[in-house]
Symmetry: C2
Subunit: 189 residues, 2 copies
């Protein structure tokens, strides 16, 4: 089924019946997108939370000089949106788009709240997801402060070698906070 990735993921966090999982899954829309499709536009109201079943999404923004800067990648089993904008139903700070052809589940803010009201056990699921994600984001802030740009790349390549193969180099540079030119120079060494 097209929503198996999500229900399997939930099962790793909760003890829950198949019947409930089916009902929970029904809150989500399933859709496939070709690569480089924009799902959320910056400045537009952010009313969707995404779960990646297959493929890869990114959130990015355009800096003062017009260069896109990647904030987050989301691959299989990751959640992605502009979380602040989503919860406040404000305009998004980020563009969200597919990096690869992708299968994506989405839920609107009102459906998300309905889901949490009807299945309070999902509070536990999202609490766990956000707890980890928040901890990881703070670790990223630590890394940004600790490592030089060169070290950032080398560490990342050692930690996620398959992912480095998977995304274009200019996106990786953007995510790691250096220029494609400098990344290219580092690789030469």
């Amino acid at each position: 089924m097209t929503k198996n990735a999500l229900t399997n993921h939930i099962k790793t966090y909760l003890v829950i019946s198949e019947e409930e999982l089916i009902e929970i899954a029904s809150f989500f829309d399933y859709q496939t997108y070709r690569k480089k499709t924009t799902l959320i536009f910056a400045k537009k109201r952010c009313d969707q939370l995404f779960f990646v079943s297959k493929g890869c999404l990114q959130s990015y923004f355009i800096d003062n000089l017009g260069n896109p800067k990647t904030i987050q990648f989301a691959i299989e089993n990751w959640w992605l949106t502009d979380f602040l904008a989503f919860q406040n139903q404000k305009q998004s700070n980020f563009n969200i788009e597919t990096v690869e052809n992708s299968e994506v589940l989405s839920i609107s803010f009102s459906k998300y709240n309905e889901l949490l009201t009807k299945f309070p056990v999902m509070e536990k699921y999202f609490r766990a997801i956000y707890q980890t994600a928040y901890g990881s984001a703070l670790m990223r802030l630590k890394h940004v402060n600790t490592f030089s740009k060169e070290e950032m790349f080398l560490k990342f390549r050692d930690s996620y070698p398959e992912f480095v193969q998977r995304v274009p180099q200019y996106l990786l540079a953007s995510f790691l906070g250096l220029t494609p030119e400098y990344l290219s120079e580092i690789k030469r060494k």
Copy 2:
């Protein structure tokens, strides 16, 4: 009562009885600390989650050159720990210490889980807390990529003028990712 700050904070997120709040509060230890007291040591197991009733805490690490780098401040009504280390019961990546004389509530990992089991409604509370905190951490990563060090300081000063007054300048520099010398130079302009 010494735990009012917490119970009041919970009330802003949940509809809940006073009796339950009293029971929930009983899971926490209340303690006061003088400024510059270390509550968690890096490399030691992280088994406490803190809620700041009064005062200010920071989490920081020591970089390769021996300089402390502040990752997070926590003032009244903020939660603080090394969230990844806490949930995995691993050694902390950060030192956590008081910046001011502070009143702090704390809970161990096992008590935290007991609390969530006995009062599932607290899943909703923490889900909301972490959802916001995660969103904010990603916005910080955006800011780090967007702004020059000078802009970082000016933006922060405009957004949190009272906080800039409140903490020593060298800690602010550390948090914003620049040297005290450079911050001093920026202020002169």
